[in-house]
């Protein structure tokens, strides 16, 4: 039993369709995670204990529990409370929330790396809290953490196959369907593995370039 290249070539278009869904889920999920993550980071730093403390617990809880179970939770429980989302939307939401918890820690490190003088100066200039964050602190906190966020983007990309568990037709699900039709799993699953390897090595190289450039600028 060896790798059949002709068969591999035949199934390529169907796997490519799945890969498109995988990439969509990754991009949408990351957009979610970046926005929600910043909100969580700011809430966790808030002076109001009633906001900061529960946010901290939530972040720890989400980070310490399996993404797959979170996906199931949203998939089964959201419809019960009257929120009907497509499986893909549910999956994107789960990815977004899970990685928002990770990203919020990265943002927190970024916010803490902004020199104290910048905060003091913003206060001295009598800027409001909102303007201080928006115009002074956040713009300086983001660039140094771009590589770390990039690594989470890659991690999320590698986690999207979990959406196959709630019937999203992403690349792994496509491979399994192809395999089930022909009883040949070796080609589809190996191709999917190769696609993941290629894309994550390329994106890891891109992250390293960004990192090197940031180091030059500092």
């Amino acid at each position: 039993m060896i790798f059949d290249w002709r068969y591999a070539w035949e199934i390529m278009p169907r796997l490519a369709e799945g890969l498109v869904v995988t990439l969509q889920a990754t991009v949408l999920g990351m957009a979610d995670a970046l926005t929600l993550g910043l909100a969580l980071a700011l809430a966790r730093r808030s002076r109001h204990r009633l906001l900061a403390w529960p946010t901290g617990v939530l972040v720890e809880f989400v980070r310490s529990t399996p993404l797959l179970v979170q996906i199931y939770f949203l998939f089964y429980v959201l419809p019960e409370v009257g929120l009907r989302l497509s499986p893909l939307a549910t999956g994107v939401l789960a990815l977004g929330v899970h990685y928002a918890a990770y990203c919020s820690e990265v943002y927190r490190a970024g916010l803490e790396s902004v020199p104290k003088g910048q905060w003091d100066a913003a206060v001295a200039l009598n800027l409001g809290r909102w303007r201080m964050m928006k115009d002074i602190i956040v713009p300086q906190a983001i660039p140094p953490i771009v590589p770390a966020l990039g690594n989470y983007l890659i991690a999320m990309f590698k986690d999207t196959p979990l959406l196959s568990a709630i019937t999203v037709l992403e690349v792994l699900q496509a491979a399994k369907l192809v395999g089930a039709e022909s009883f040949r799993y070796i080609e589809p699953l190996t191709l999917v593995g190769a696609a993941f390897l290629l894309l994550s090595l390329l994106s890891a190289a891109a992250v390293r370039r960004v990192e090197a450039r940031l180091r030059l600028e500092v």
Partner: protein, 215 residues
């Protein structure tokens, strides 16, 4: 609630068993691959580097399905539990190898020179000088990896191992009490994560005993 807890706790026991077995195997793999990766000999460093890149660069779930569906084509029949343990260990081991490498590289160069001056063999240097200093630095990231491993163990529910997540799925199909079941399951996983965090902290304290950690 009680009728839910019995099957869930039985599932939790399997999750813990899987996590412990895979973690033990992952430690061995991580040390072997991490040290081989740093070896000057290409026969050692190249296979180690390939293994690390392949397992870090692909999705854990894809690895699991590959082992479960493709290996039988090569005439290798493995049980779901073996495939699950093996993939979890290989996946975590690849990340762990980088932890090992980082910690060993952080041991000051003078320590190696001193070992050479004392005429210690390579094995003696590694065992008595390098590892005792590198291990305390490995523990915090290793603790994070242990939690990642525990979380990844939920994936094996997709190859029909009745661990906690699969037990929850079965129970849901039976009772349809989704919110309760998956809520309890999340809390159980969180509890295991807390135990791991606490355990690693104890280990950290023990391992750094007698080592002066300067500023």
């Amino acid at each position: 609630m009680n009728e839910l807890m019995t099957p869930l706790l039985r599932g939790l026991a399997v999750t813990v068993e899987l996590t412990v077995a895979a973690a033990a195997l992952a430690i061995v793999i991580a040390l072997a691959a991490g040290l081989a990766r740093m070896s000057g000999r290409r026969v050692l460093s190249w296979p180690a580097a390939t293994y690390i890149e392949v397992f870090r660069g692909t999705s854990a779930l894809v690895q699991l399905f590959w082992f479960y569906f493709v290996l039988p084509f090569f005439g290798i029949e493995v049980s779901a539990f073996t495939a699950g343990t093996l993939v979890l260990a290989l996946n975590t081991g690849a990340y762990g190898a980088e932890v090992v490498r980082g910690a060993v590289l952080a041991v000051p160069r003078g320590q190696l020179d001193a070992s050479a001056a004392l005429n210690l063999s390579r094995v003696q240097t590694l065992w008595h000088v390098v590892l005792p200093q590198a291990i305390p630095a490995m523990l915090p990231p290793a603790g994070n990896l242990a939690i990642e491993l525990m979380k990844n163990s939920a994936l094996v529910s997709l190859i029909t191992i009745t661990e906690l997540t699969f037990a929850a799925q079965l129970l849901r199909a039976e009772t349809l009490r989704s919110a309760e079941i998956f809520g309890v399951v999340l809390v159980l996983y969180f509890a295991v994560a807390l135990v791991i965090t606490g355990g690693v902290r104890l280990l950290e304290r023990r391992a750094s005993r007698g080592l002066e950690r300067g500023a």
